[in-house]
Amino acid sequence: MKVQINPIRTFQNLGKVSLLAGSIISLGLSGMAQAETFRIGITQNNVGVDSYQTTYEQAFEDAAEEADNVDVVVLDAGGDVARQISQVRNLIQQQVDVIIIWPTDGQAVVPAINGARNAGIPVVVTNSNIAEAGQPLIASFSGPNNIQQGAYAAEMMCNQLGGEGNIVQITGQPGYTTAIERQKGFEDRLPEVCPDVKILDTQPGDWNRAKAQRTMEDFLTRYDNIDGVYAADDNMGVGALNAAKSEDRAGEIIFIGATNFAVGYEAMARGEYHGSVYQSPAEDARNALNIAIAVAQGKEVDKMSYFDTPKITQENMDEFEKPVF
């Protein structure tokens, strides 16, 4: 049943003036159809900051349209923890059936989740997990296994370097669970598979390509002997590749990333980029929605519901479709 009028499309047609009117219509329609449906509220981390999150949001809305029995409230915290907490409060006050949260911070949202639990609303965490302390409070986590992804990256790096070399690491936004987990997975696994690969330096790239490019430029000035780069996503990895290319040092460096982006896929096709982890935002979104629906229906769900995120390298890339983001 299609009750949710996609606000973006509506607004593009009607223009800015009728902005609020559009929302009222969509709300009115959803109100009429409310009788038999579940209301699921989601508060996302920061839509628009990169394509992954935006594609996720669209996939989520599309999946909700396809499903018969859901009515979704889609909110965006804009990367601000405080705003996310107030959005959780708003969702509690609207008495939705399930809250899906994409945490802006793994620890800071725990009390808000506790608040939802106290109000009798189950919480599903999506994409990036929350801290240990919050684990008993949630119904389920749905998303990639980021520690595993870090470990995959370490293995690919090890293979490509042939067991020894000096590498640098560009991490995601400090404090963000995905960033922490990927770094941990990478740093824990690397000495196990390749004790002779040394991490020279680690700096954050904030999930931002321009920032990562700049960070890499500094690495290149500082170290004459960089053999490999691990970037916590392909967006940053391509930034690092750009920096190395402009110094004519790309040929001597192995680039490993995560969350395969279209740019990373293309660079890999050109032979400039060496490995990543394939992770589909659409699958991420569908997974989260399905689990939330199951929770709403009172079904048993796994506490940790990881979806599959395989390694992708130049050798096996034909098996994967080019990412849409």
Binding site: P7, I8, F11, K16, L19, L20, S23, I24, S26, L27, G31, V47, G48, V73, V74, L75, D76, G78, D80, V81, A82, R83, I85, S86, Q87, R89, N90, Q93, Q94, D105, G106, Q107, A108, V109, V110, P111, A112, N114, G115, A131, A133, Q173, P174, G175, P204
Partner: protein, 314 residues
């Protein structure tokens, strides 16, 4: 009746708040609800507490851009030091850090004569550096649940955070309106030279206001961290901009000498209600940015049209 009309004239932002309330009440079934209102108050309290201090500083003819970073520093200390000092000790250190940053800004502005905008722009960048050095880029978690319980607690059916905000708003209003210090805030902002020559100790006076805003920013950060049971190094980014926006919406003049706590409260509520209402209506976040930006400019335009006499274009 005349007094009400007069009040409306002097506080146009309250008309806007009223219109927003009416509009959202009709457009969303969830808006007009006592629980939603207390949500709005809690949401407003973070920016609101800083805005109280900002009102003093801006009427003084200064500005403080470092409040977002100060907020993060206080929150990080108040959470991060709990294992060593316990909750009370850590919170006190957090509050102290705000006072120290405020005092530092105030002393620099006073003794060097560098414009407060520049002094606090520097502090905004530097204090954030301190936060990162102290936290090592990590978020801290409060292991004692009593800490986050406080953030979620209620008294007389009102969230404690909202009550604290309301109480401090009343106190700030009384201080600004009825104390000698409050009166001097206007004097120093209206004509600094005159105030100095009338025997008001301008430097220490401004220092006191910087300490006040530092304290309030720290308090706001600590209360925010009780809502999260944690602190993050990036907490409070851009809060200085939203605080200034709220204060200006509330009618405080940027060049100093004029403003009120009542107006600031209106400005803070206007932003909180707009955000809350647009969330309820599910306005996409992209449009929320455009709407908030436009409203700020429109209010400024209306204010200028009605507040200033049309005269020589000078």
């Amino acid at each position: 009746m005349n007094r009400i009309i007069d009040l409306v004239k002097r506080q146009p932002i309250w008309i806007f708040v009223f219109i927003c309330v009416v509009f959202f009440s009709f457009s969303s079934p969830y808006f007009f609800d006592i629980r939603n209102f207390s949500n709005i108050l809690v949401q407003a309290s973070t920016i609101g507490l800083i805005a109280l201090g900002m009102t003093f500083v801006m009427i003084n003819g200064n500005i403080d851009l470092s409040v977002g970073a100060t907020l993060a520093l206080a929150a990080s200390l108040a959470v991060g030091l709990q294992p060593q000092l316990g909750i009370t000790g850590a919170v006190l250190v957090g509050l102290l850090s705000g006072i120290v940053i405020g005092a530092l800004n105030g002393i620099i502005a006073w003794k060097t004569g560098v414009d407060a905008f520049i002094v606090t722009l520097g502090a905004m960048i530097g204090v954030r550096g301190l936060v990162f050095i102290y936290t090592g880029e990590q978020a801290f978690y409060a292991h004692d649940l009593a800490y986050s319980d406080f953030g979620a607690s209620s008294l007389f059916g009102m969230p404690v955070l909202a009550l604290i905000f309301i109480c401090l708003t009343i106190i700030a209003h009384l201080v600004l309106k009825y104390t000698i210090h409050g009166r001097n805030v206007f004097a120093v902002g209206g004509n600094r030279v005159a105030a100095k020559e009338a025997g008001i100790r301008v430097g220490p006076h401004m220092l006191l206001n910087f300490i006040l805003i530092g304290f309030l920013a720290a308090l706001s950060g600590i209360l925010l961290s009780t809502q999260m049971g944690a602190s993050t190094p990036n907490l409070g980014r851009n809060y200085e901009l939203w605080t200034i926006t709220a204060v200006v919406l509330g009618g405080t003049r940027l060049t100093g000498g004029f403003g009120s706590i009542i107006g600031t409260l209106g400005g803070v509520l206007a932003i909180a209600i707009l955000r809350n209402g647009m969330n309820l209506l599910q306005v996409p976040s992209f449009y929320v940015l455009i709407i908030l930006g436009s409203i700020l400019i429109i209010v400024l335009f209306i204010d200028k049209r009605f507040a200033e006499p049309q005269g020589v274009g000078a």
